[in-house]
Amino acid sequence: MPRPDAELLARLLDQHGGALALYAAQWTDAADDCVQEALVELARQSAEPENAVGWLYRVVKHRALNSARGNSRRREREVEAWRRRLVREGPAADDRTDLLEAVERLPIDQRELIVLRVWGGLSFAEIAEATEVATSTAYRKYQEAIESLRQQWNEPCPCPTKTPK
């Protein structure tokens, strides 16, 4: 395999920069630094990894976990920061913020699969490389996450209905 060059780094940054930062933002508020360090780490490799995209997401996750280690108070800020990284495209009438809140309530191992699949556009092989699990396991967990979202989406609103006096 050839060495990673500047062209590869630029392409990965353009295609996956936003998703990488969103992925890192699940654990840390210094997501941009994690992405940059991961890209520099990729440039340091003597040969391009076989699955460069999956490798990059995995390194970003490790960097984010190291950055967030020992500071549990950041948890609330991280969730808020993660949500701020998503921007809505399209008409405001289709704003499904309830669905996004459902994603926020998912366990972290299921939510990261949603991030990788939906916003990262990774295949299940790349997801398996990033999360260091088997491809079948990644697929099964992703289906479980979607099923969990579907159940939350279809359940009636827990808000109390206003009854006329």
């Binding site: 969103l22 520099v40 003597s46 809505r88 669905l99 939906v118």
Partner: protein
């Protein structure tokens, strides 16, 4: 709920989530490329590249040198053992006619009136046949070969002849050593053959007792 309905609902959820897009990270591209370039030329990376570059030539050179050294040692070892140990042309066995198979003979040189030596002596005179015969015969009964017997007899007869030719008396010895005398003429000086100077030869001294004896 059917599977297709579930899949369509899953796709609907995915499509709804895909309506949001992640924001681009706040990364300075030039700074990132500079950092990546510096990292790719770090001393550790260069050391790893140089090691990978020189690993195969060094390994190849080492194995070649080892092969040459082993070949040299092998050649020296074969030269020390000599040509017979090399298994070459010199070590090939010489074609020798198979020796005649002799019946086992425990002892005795003769069967009946015919000597065994004559019976078992190989006509071709090969070494192996002679060796087998010697091994099958006790040492004290080894026959004397004809040629050796002849030589011994010839030597004995020569000794006997020498004893017969030996002069029994001093006179005979002198007669044997001295030439025969010519007939002596009266009044004439006896002529001696040999050296004209009687003083130059010891025979002049010998003539006196010879004449005295005669």
């Amino acid at each position: 709920m059917s599977m297709s309905h579930k899949d369509s609902e899953m796709n609907e959820i995915e499509a709804a989530l895909a309506a949001w897009t992640p924001r681009s990270p706040q990364i300075d591209r030039d700074r990132l490329m500079f950092a990546a370039g510096s990292a790719s030329h770090s001393p550790a990376i260069l050391a790893g590249r140089s090691l990978a570059r020189f690993l195969w030539p060094v390994a190849t050179s080492f194995s070649t040198a080892a092969a040459i050294a082993m070949a040299f040692l092998l050649a020296q070892d074969r030269a020390g053992r000599g040509p017979a140990a090399e298994g070459g042309v010199a070590a090939q066995p010489i074609a020798v006619a198979a020796p005649p198979v002799l019946p086992p003979q425990r002892s005795g040189l003769s069967v009946g009136s015919t000597p065994l030596w004559r019976e078992t002596a190989p006509l071709d005179g090969t070494y192996l046949a002679l060796r087998n015969q010697m091994l099958n015969t006790p040492v004290d009964q080894w026959p004397i070969p004809v040629s050796l017997n002849t030589d011994v007899r010839r030597g004995a007869s020569a000794i006997e002849d020498d004893a017969a030719l030996k002069p029994s008396t001093s006179r005979n010895l002198l007669r044997e050593l001295l030439p025969p005398e010519p007939p002596v003429q009266r009044g004439a000086e006896p002529v001696r053959r040999g050296s004209p100077d009687p003083a130059a030869t010891p025979a002049a001294h010998i003539t006196e007792p010879h004449e005295a004896i005669t």
